[in-house]
C-alpha cells in the first residue's frame, strides 16, 4: 500500500525528516509516536503534498505509484486521506457543498455512479450521527467556529464519507475528552478492513486502548528509531521518550 524509503524533508530551510523508512501493508494499522518536534505531523503533510514541504531525498510509493509525481488531489483520488490536527476554517463554503464536491469527485474518479442529492443527504446525515455531530453543522461554513473537538469529528466524518484506502490521522486524539475519543475510535474501528490501512499519529498511548494497532513506531529526530507491537506503546507510556533518544544518540 505505502512504501516510504529513506525520506528526507525540509521545511523552511530546516531538515525535519532525515531518512524515514516505513512500509505499510493493506489492512494494517500503524501507530507513530514520538516527542514534540520529531516530525510526526511533517510526515502527514508531505504525503498529502502540502506546499512548502520540500523532499530532498528518498522515495514514496503509494498504490504502486510514485507519490511525488502526483498532485495533491490525484493522491486523494488514489485513496490517500489526511485527517488534520488543525483543519482550516473556510467561511462561506458550507460543509454540505464541500462534502458533496468531494464525494462526487471521488465517485467520478473511481468510476462509481454519482449519488443523487437525496442519497447524499441521507449519507451525510447518517455520518453526522455516527460521529456525534449535530446536523446543523452541515449548513455551517467548513469548520467555521467549530470547537477543537467538533473539527476533529468533522475530519472523521469526511474520512467516513470518502472511504480512503489509507487514512493518516494526525493527532486526532489530542484535545479530545474521553467520550469524543471513543467516538473517534468507534469510527476508525468501523472502517477497518483488509484493504484499508491507517497511520495513527499520536502523542499518547490512550488512543491505542481503543484502536488496537498492528505496529507501533517511534519517530525521533526525523527517523523511525524503534518499531514493535502494541506493547511498545505501553513501554513508552511508562518510560517516556528520553531513553530512546539516548539510545539513538
Amino acid at each position: 500500500m505505502l512504501k516510504i524509503d529513506n525520506l528526507h524533508v525540509r521545511v523552511d530551510g530546516k531538515d525535519i525528516l532525515k531518512g524515514l523508512s516505513l512500509h505499510i501493508g493493506a489492512g494494517e494499522v500503524h501507530a507513530i509516536m514520538g516527542p514534540n518536534g520529531s516530525g510526526k505531523s511533517t510526515l502527514g503533510h508531505v504525503l498529502a503534498g502540502r506546499p512548502g514541504y520540500e523532499v530532498t531525498a528518498g522515495t514514496v510509493e503509494f498504490m504502486g505509484q510514485d507519490i511525488f509525481a502526483l498532485e495533491t488531489e490525484e493522491r486523494a483520488h488514489l485513496g490517500l486521506f489526511l485527517a488534520y490536527q488543525y483543519p482550516v476554517e473556510i467561511p462561506g463554503v458550507s460543509n454540505m457543498e464541500f462534502l458533496k464536491a468531494a464525494v462526487d469527485t471521488m465517485h467520478e474518479k473511481r468510476g462509481e455512479p454519482a449519488l443523487d442529492t437525496v442519497s447524499f443527504m441521507k449519507l451525510a446525515r447518517e455520518t453526522c450521527k455516527q460521529v456525534d455531530l449535530d446536523q446543523a453543522f452541515l449548513k455551517r461554513g467548513v469548520n467555521e467556529g467549530f470547537s477543537g473537538g467538533e473539527k476533529k469529528r468533522n475530519e472523521l466524518m469526511q474520512m467516513m464519507m470518502l472511504q480512503p484506502r489509507l487514512a493518516i490521522m494526525d493527532e486526532t486524539d489530542s484535545g479530545l475528552d474521553i467520550d469524543a475519543l471513543q467516538v473517534v475510535a468507534t469510527g476508525v474501528n468501523s472502517m477497518r478492513s483488509s484493504d484499508r490501512s491507517f497511520i495513527l499519529v499520536t502523542h499518547y498511548q490512550r488512543l491505542l486502548d481503543y484502536i488496537e494497532p498492528d505496529f507501533v513506531h517511534v519517530l525521533a529526530a526525523g527517523r523511525i528509531v524503534k518499531s514493535g507491537d502494541k506493547s511498545l506503546a505501553l513501554e513508552l507510556e511508562d518510560r517516556g521518550y528520553a531513553w530512546l533518544e539516548d539510545e539513538v544518540a
Binding site: 462561506g92 457543498e97 469527485t105
Partner: protein, 433 residues
C-alpha cells in the same frame, strides 16, 4: 461645464409640469457652473469619465417584445415595474399595488403629490455635493415616486427593473426614483439594473429614500449591467427617528460603473445595514463610494463590502464614516475585503473616518488578499480538483454577504448568476447554488 452629455440637456427641454421645469432649469444652471472632475479631484481619482465623451443620443422608446429583448428577471412574488431604456413598459409590468402604496410618474402627479415630491426630491441627494445629482436634475423630465403610507406593511417585494437594451447607437437614460416610507411603514424594494445587447449606453440613476419615524425598509440595488452598459448613480438615504434600513448592493463590472451610497442618520435610534459585493473581470471598472453620516446620537451602522477582482479589472472602494459632534453613542462598523484573482487586477480601497464626537464606537478594516493557499490545499486533499477548489473559495468569499439577503427568491436567483461569474464551465459551479 464642457459639453459632456449636452444632447440630454437639449432633449430635456420638452414640455413638463411647471415644478419639474423649474427643477430642471435650476439643475442646468448648477451643472453649467460645475467643472468636470479630473484625476486630481479626490472623489474621482481612480475613475475616469473618458468613456462618456463619445457620441450619445437620447434613448428612443423601445417597442421590442420580451422575447425580442431576450431578458428574464426573477419572479419575486410582488408587484413589478419594468422600464426599458428609461421608459415604463406597462405590457411587461404588473403594477397591482397593495393598499396604502402609491407608485406614480412625476409627470402624472396631482397637486398634492407634486408638492410632496417637490419638497423631498433633492433634499436627500444633495446636488451641491454630488455632481451627477446635479446632472440628474438638469436632465430631469420624469421619475417615479413610491409613497408608502404611514403604518402600511407591504409583505411582498416591490420590484423595479431598469433594462438597458444597448443598441447600435449609443444612448443615455436619466432615471430618478423617490421613495417615501411613512411613519412605521414596512416594505421591501428591489432595484434591478440590467442590460442586453452589446452596444454602448449610459444610465444616470439617482434614488432617494426617505424613511420617516419607525419606518423599516429592505432595499436592494443590483447593478447587473455588463459590457458597454455604463452607470453612474447613487442611492441617497435619510433615516428618521428609530427607522431601520437594510440595503444590499451588488455590481457586476462593465466599462464604467460608479455608485455612491449615502446614508444620513438624521433621527436618533436609526439603524442602517449596508452590505455589498462587486465582481469584476476583463477590463471592467466599478467604483463604490459609500458615506455613512451620523448627525444625531444613538444611531448604529454596519457596513460590509466584499469584492472579487480578476483579469485586468480595476475596482475602487471608498468607505467614509462621518460622525458629527452631536452624534454621541454612535456605533459604526465598516469592513471592506477584497480578493484579487489575477496579478493584473487592481483595487483601490480607502476607509475614511471623520469623528467629532467623543463617546462613540467606530471600527473599520480593509484587506486585499489572494486565495489562501492552505484552504486550496485542504480542498485538494479531499480530492476536489484545483479549478473547482478555486471556484468554491472565490464564491465562498462573497457567499457570506449573499446570505444576508432575506428574500429567498432573490437569493436563489443571484446564487447561480454569481457562481457563473467565477467559472463558465458548469462542472465547476455544480456544487454551488
Amino acid at each position: 461645464m464642457p459639453d459632456l452629455m449636452h444632447h440630454i440637456l437639449d432633449a430635456a427641454s420638452v414640455a413638463a409640469p411647471q415644478w419639474l421645469s423649474e427643477r430642471q432649469a435650476a439643475g442646468r444652471k448648477a451643472w453649467a457652473a460645475s467643472a468636470l472632475p479630473t484625476r486630481k479631484t479626490e472623489a474621482w481619482k481612480y475613475t475616469s469619465l473618458q468613456p462618456l465623451t463619445g457620441d450619445f443620443a437620447v434613448a428612443e422608446p423601445s417597442v421590442a417584445s420580451k422575447a425580442e429583448l431576450g431578458f428574464e428577471h426573477p419572479d419575486l412574488g410582488g408587484s413589478k415595474l419594468v422600464f426599458v431604456d428609461g421608459y415604463l413598459r406597462a405590457d411587461l409590468s404588473d403594477t397591482a399595488l397593495p393598499e396604502g402604496v402609491e407608485l406614480i410618474r412625476f409627470a402624472d402627479a396631482n397637486a398634492e403629490q407634486a408638492k410632496q415630491i417637490s419638497q423631498q426630491l433633492g433634499s436627500v441627494a444633495d446636488p451641491s455635493g454630488h455632481l451627477f445629482s446635479k446632472f440628474s436634475d438638469a436632465a430631469l423630465q420624469d421619475g417615479m415616486f413610491l409613497n408608502v403610507a404611514a403604518n402600511t406593511e407591504v409583505a411582498e417585494p416591490i420590484h423595479m427593473v431598469w433594462l438597458t437594451s444597448t443598441r447600435e447607437v449609443a444612448f443615455t437614460v436619466n432615471q430618478r426614483l423617490l421613495v417615501v416610507m411613512g411613519v412605521n411603514s414596512r416594505a421591501s424594494l428591489v432595484e434591478q439594473f440590467d442590460s442586453v445587447g452589446s452596444g454602448t449606453a449610459f444610465t444616470n440613476g439617482i434614488t432617494e429614500l426617505v424613511l420617516e419615524t419607525g419606518a423599516h425598509l429592505l432595499h436592494h440595488r443590483l447593478h447587473l449591467e455588463d459590457g458597454g452598459a455604463m452607470h453612474i448613480g447613487g442611492v441617497h438615504v435619510r433615516l428618521g427617528r428609530d427607522s431601520h434600513l437594510e440595503s444590499f448592493h451588488l455590481a457586476l463590472g462593465s466599462d464604467l460603473k460608479r455608485i455612491d451610497v449615502v446614508v444620513n442618520h438624521a433621527g436618533p435610534g436609526a439603524h442602517s445595514t449596508v452590505n455589498g459585493i462587486y465582481l469584476l473581470r476583463g477590463s471592467e471598472h466599478v467604483d463604490y463610494h459609500t458615506c455613512i453620516e451620523h448627525a444625531v446620537p444613538n444611531c448604529t451602522s454596519d457596513e460590509i463590502f466584499r469584492g472579487v477582482i480578476g483579469d485586468r479589472a480595476t475596482a475602487v472602494f471608498n468607505g467614509r464614516i462621518h460622525i458629527h459632534a452631536d452624534a454621541q453613542k454612535t456605533n459604526a462598523q465598516l469592513s471592506n475585503r477584497n480578493l484579487l484573482t489575477s496579478t493584473n487586477a487592481t483595487i483601490n480601497t480607502k476607509p475614511e473616518l471623520e469623528i467629532y464626537a467623543n463617546d462613540v464606537q467606530c471600527a473599520h478594516g480593509a484587506t486585499v488578499a489572494q486565495l489562501d493557499p492552505f484552504m486550496l490545499h485542504y480542498l485538494k486533499t479531499r480530492g476536489i480538483d484545483a479549478e473547482e477548489a478555486q471556484t468554491l473559495l472565490s464564491y465562498g468569499f462573497i457567499n457570506e454577504v449573499v446570505n444576508t439577503i432575506r428574500i429567498d427568491a432573490l437569493r436563489n436567483f443571484l446564487r447561480p448568476l454569481l457562481a457563473g461569474r467565477f467559472a463558465t464551465d458548469p462542472k465547476l459551479t455544480r456544487h454551488l447554488a
